[in-house]
């Protein structure tokens, strides 16, 4: 898991080094185009193109039949039945490429999501950070030590320890933008998490540790060692939304719509049957 995360994060960082020259929205458009093309290529090489082409021809033929013989009910019904059957065949041919495509698509999504899902901690405003201990009994006196970096202050009454559930919360206010390293714990069991304050599209890890999906979807950080008393650290970065024509649109919807559009547009170039 850590190796995959490291590789994908490295590739993501390289890609965004280049994309940083564009505005975030144009970067998303370019990524959508690349994703659309990548989907097309994967589809072409993992699907049975001949069979799909055959199905498409069959559907066209039956559509034509139902149009030409619309006065003949038996022909029309037979054609309709065949169209449904061919559509089911088409879906069947799509399963394998779709499943294969899911893996790289999710990995790409994660890398984009790390940059587009959340905004950095706003300077001068409170952002919550939550630490969860593996053993709730250790909440008191073990995980409640936080070494604050310069340029970051915690609320006066922090931390808030919910002992029965083993969580410790801080409300942190960055005074300056940039990357701040948070260090939790004391003695040898210290867990670090870089947090970023300010503006811009930068890679943000919402979690360190946590469940499999939390680590897969929201983190570029290494997992927490098994020997540590910490289960996870979560930073409540504010959600980011993208304004398109006055509407708040989630980046994932933008990416999905645009990548499908690009896939359809580039389909003739790559001679792919979808």
């Amino acid at each position: 898991m850590d190796l995959v995360t490291r590789i994908m994060t490295f590739l993501g960082d390289v890609a965004f080094e280049v994309l940083d020259y564009f505005s975030p929205l144009w970067a998303l458009v370019i990524l959508s185009a690349l994703t659309g093309v990548a989907m097309l290529l994967i589809w072409r090489h993992t699907s049975n193109q001949d069979a799909i082409a055959d199905v498409r021809r069959q559907i066209s033929a039956h559509l034509l039949a139902s149009r030409l013989f619309k006065d003949d009910l038996s022909v029309t019904f037979r054609a309709q039945r065949q169209i449904i059957w061919q559509a089911l065949r088409l879906m069947g041919h799509s399963i394998r490429p779709m499943l294969i495509m899911t893996v790289p698509f999710v990995l790409i999504m994660v890398q984009i999501g790390l940059r587009y899902e959340f905004r950095p901690m706003p300077v001068g405003q409170v952002t919550r950070v939550k630490v969860t201990m593996k053993d709730p009994g250790k909440t008191r006196g073990h995980g409640d030590q936080l070494k604050l970096p310069d340029g970051m202050v915690a609320a006066a009454n922090d931390p808030c320890r919910a002992i029965p559930i083993g969580t410790i919360d801080w409300r942190l206010t960055p005074r300056v933008g940039g990357t701040h390293m948070l260090k939790f714990g004391n003695g040898g069991d210290v867990i670090e998490l870089p947090v970023i304050a300010g503006d811009g599209f930068v890679r943000l890890s919402k979690f360190r540790g946590g469940s499999f999906f939390q680590r897969l979807l929201y983190s570029a950080e290494p997992s927490i060692p098994d020997s540590s008393a910490f289960a996870s650290i979560e930073v409540f970065y504010p959600q980011r939304s993208t304004a398109i024509a006055g509407f708040d649109v989630h980046w994932l919807i933008t990416l999905l719509v645009l990548s499908i559009v690009f896939a359809l547009v580039f389909k003739p170039f790559f001679k792919v049957h979808i």
Binding site: N157, D169, A245, F266
Partner: protein
Amino acid sequence: MKSNACITKRQKANTSTGRRSRIADPGLRVVLLLGLFVLPITGCDKISGASGKSKSTHKKVCIIGCDGMDPKLVRQMIDEGRLPNLARLEREGGFRPLGTSIPPQSPVAWSNFITGAGPGVHGIFDFIHRDPGKQAAPYFSTNRIVDEDRPDPIKIGQYAVPKEMLLPWVKGAENELLRRGTPFWEYLDERGIPVQMYKLPANYPPSKSSHGHACCLAGMGVPDAFGSQGIFQHFTTKPGRDSKSPEGYKLHLRQTEASGAFSGRIWGPPNEMHVKAADLFVDLKAYPDPVNKVAKLVIVNQNVTGDEEVELILDEGQWSDWTDIRFLKTPVGPTFSVMARFLLQKVRPDVEIYMTPLNFIPAAPEIVFSEPPGFATEIADAIGPYHTQGFAEAFNARKAKLLSDEEYHVQADLILDESLRMMDYALDRYEDGVLFFYFSSTDLQAHIFWWDSDARHPFRTPAQAKKYMGVIEDLYVRMDDAVGRCRAKLGEDVTYIVMSDHGFANFGRCVGLCTWLRNEGYLFAKQSVVLDTDWSKTRAYGLGINGLYLNLKGREKHGIVDPTEKDALLTEISQKLLNLKDPITGQKVIRRIYRADECYSGPEAVNAPDLIIGYDRNYRASWKTCIGEFDSDVIFDNDNAWSADHCMAHDLVPGIVFSNRAILADAPELIDLAPSILSIYGVTAPSQMTGVNIFAAPPDELAAR
């Protein structure tokens, strides 16, 4: 059009070679699709900016409604130089006390403002009305749920599915606005003059805009999620029993052995999809920090897909932001989503949490409280969530002594801050026509903090009474500043009207009208007019804040007073009441008594109380009188935090009116404002309106009235 023409030329050129045509096509599709999808990304701001403000074609009128703003205090503060913007309005156009409604209660007064006519026309006589057909069954005067024709639901096990949910042609329950008469903006709406009203009282459910030029966010009258005027919930870890009343719930958090958390329930309204209408609830958990004055609250929202925990970290004395609370009506949905704010009052020795009444989420409301319905959502999109419940200030919790004066002050100021944000939005959006903006703070802070005499306050020391009266003075300064902000934003080409529906007076002593009626042998009941009255003997009863009704034969279901005896009985009761004296001070407690058949005219006058009691300064109906219950004494101290009021004789508590346009009337009244606004647009006041134009009415016309 230009780009289309361009593409067409290119397409034509490409048809010369078939191969090139096929290659060029996808390229063009890229350009087109990118254009369709991407150009709005980069150009959206400019596009909306271009279509922003249209050319102004209508006159501009801006009305600031400050509920309960008192002319005496305003006069004093202007003379002290503390209200410069109002002073400027007075210099430019005028300032007058504004004659209020009979009785001077907000729903009555604002209905006078809206219709330009009295209660005989709009039919609102009190906060509480009674249905004579059901004898003395009380109901909230401004709106009611009509569900007599609602079909029985389809029962599936312990759940009941309302038929209207499955069958679109089946009519469900409907919310009816009980205010009659035509609101003034309809006459502007039909002439295409835009009218925007924010938090307008006595207009829930909001009346429809027939021509689409009026939009209104309803204010006072909009219920909370229970359909009430505001049920708070208070949680404590102190041992005790839960109690629920129409004002609020006092609930307990209990420590569970399994989790160690303090757990309780946030209650919602009865579940209409449960055969027994069991109350909805979600779990609330509290985790106080063992050392620091901070706690984590966890609200366990319900979803079809599973529970979702919302966590709040609050310092002692800190208010949360608006927090969504989601109840699941059945295991397969639907959900009922509302929102509330939490105040962590104490962490130790016991955790104490106050939760506001459940408000609707304005971005996705469960009920309609604006016209058009999307207006409420537009506001929320611009300024974030806001109080939707009409009475937003937490006076019930203050009355129940669950909030301190300071906590109430902070909460009320949060509402004022929110109102000012909404006003800024309204000013940004306003182009022309009528803009009305309402502030509740001047009323609901005054009810708790007003005390303008040296007389003994029921429970505050003189120093405290003075300190909190200072809160009201500071509030008036903020209102003055709001007027200044309007002028700075909208400029001088606008008619400004700053008005209030009534003023204020101390409320130190309660009058138990029902108790008096019982003592005098007019009313025979043990506990309550509503519950156990012997109607075969009862000749008169009290209900509402100022209302006194006869048990009239032919009108009340069990009426016994013959209509021929009505006049004599009313005279007898009136004379006795006017002679009623406070046993401590010897002062008469009732200043005036109004007979409905003398002071009201119009089609709705038949529904009015027979007598409207005009209490003297410092006196008002007791709390129990309002709901038809009895006190141990007739006249006694008001030891309630609600220590100021206006439900008295109407001449004691006039409102205010300021304008930068010359006010020619010497004694303007609330009912005059609607015809005055219409006159600015050249619209003649319709016959329904009994008010006159204060900007142009000849003095003799007003004098004649």
